[in-house]
Symmetry: D2
Subunit: 142 residues, 4 copies
């Protein structure tokens, strides 16, 4: 599967009094990395939302394992890829490296989501358009 790599500079404000990344910040990094993954195949999130009439790709299940801490001033690299497409959802995996060391591993299940046509307060899944999946297949081969 196509993988995108994004370098993240860990900022002072991302770190806690122990001097290491405050772990909720990693989830913000990973959310940005998923956006970057779509942008890398030609689907920047703000355009993708307009083009397909979706409200977003909200998270339904995420898990992260923290193997080693990172500190402010570190440059880390996150390798992101979609590991599975289902009908209206998909799986993403992120691996954050500090040098050669795998420091954090994260999996995500996200939904291709639209506002409900019967209740605009509700958000519901919709089939992922085949052309979106095709972009990732094409990128893999490139």
């Amino acid at each position: 599967m196509f993988a995108n790599r994004k370098t993240i500079h860990i900022e002072w404000g991302d770190c806690d009094p122990a001097g290491i990344v405050y772990y909720p910040r990693y989830f913000a990094y990973f959310d940005n990395c998923t956006a970057a993954l779509f942008a890398a195949v030609g689907l920047p999130k703000h355009e993708m939302l307009k083009q397909y009439g979706i409200v977003g790709i909200p998270m339904v299940d995420t898990r992260a394992r923290f193997l080693a801490p990172s500190r402010f001033g570190d440059d880390v690299v996150v390798e992101s890829q979609i590991t599975e497409w289902r009908n209206s959802s998909f799986e993403v995996r992120h691996r954050l490296f500090r040098g050669d060391q795998l420091a954090v591993e994260c999996t995500e299940t996200r939904v291709w989501a639209v506002r409900s046509s019967t209740n605009s307060e509700k958000i519901e899944g919709q089939a992922v358009p085949p052309e979106v999946v095709a972009r990732f297949s094409a990128a893999r081969k490139a």
Copy 2:
């Protein structure tokens, strides 16, 4: 096991352009709820760190399932409890309710962590003091 309940008012700045909580914010909520859980048995985090000479109770593994979205202005209740004590680590479970509805469920594995005596840059696990565990047992019976 002893459970603590914390009410959280969802703020404008916790929400994203879809109008629902930006999911990394839930992890900040849960981190605060774990701190509140310890405070509820007489161990406010800032005092606990000093008293036991630990650098914190860093996360090693966390998973959250998002069953229903929450919106700014909502008041949600998080029920938190320690579900298992191991030697130098422990498991926490949070359940976030929106009214009667279970909206988010989260599990955490955290470590009772000290600075390494041989390398102050390193953080390592240490046995959880029995008196800490005892406080939760006592609270359960109360």
Copy 3:
């Protein structure tokens, strides 16, 4: 003028590697305090937005002076009031106290904002409804 007081518990994740509040977090506190100020006169933000058809009360100018640091575990109190109403904007002042000590002072200029009727991408000011101002006058006398 009517003043609202809000107690804030400073969390681990609000603090930086120096062990004190990461200053952008104060602005999130103050944004929440402005929301609490309106809620205190019967205008919770999420209802106020619907009722008056506004997109928010965005910031146009804010300044904060940091007189003393706060640390995680501290409980601070923020006293908030509207100091001036103009046509489509208003001034808010927040004073954050740590015990008796004034620790942070902040001023805000905000706009009563609607989506432009000619360009939905644009946000523009609109006259603050007299009944909104009246609620604060009434609260002052109460």
Copy 4:
């Protein structure tokens, strides 16, 4: 004076339900830009702290004027420079551009801060080392 330019990609999670940047996030951007400004003259913050034995360059006064909103997906450029050196403090100015448009302007007063030698809980100002100032003068001429 030497100016550094930093491009910032505005992320989904930086934006609020109105679809524009949640203003406290701008202060995090600017804090990162000040760090980038020092890094640009050869003083990455994590090394500068160690080298000079300071706890940081905490904020004592900051003001921002928001002239135009930015949205997720936007790439903005922040131009940062030190506008004045005093004995133990200094002034920074940031200007955030969205295309050609000045969208946010921010000023900061920061302190060159060390832990008090008589009370490690206290943070106090210390004279900025002349070699730090000299690096900016040299960069200006370069």
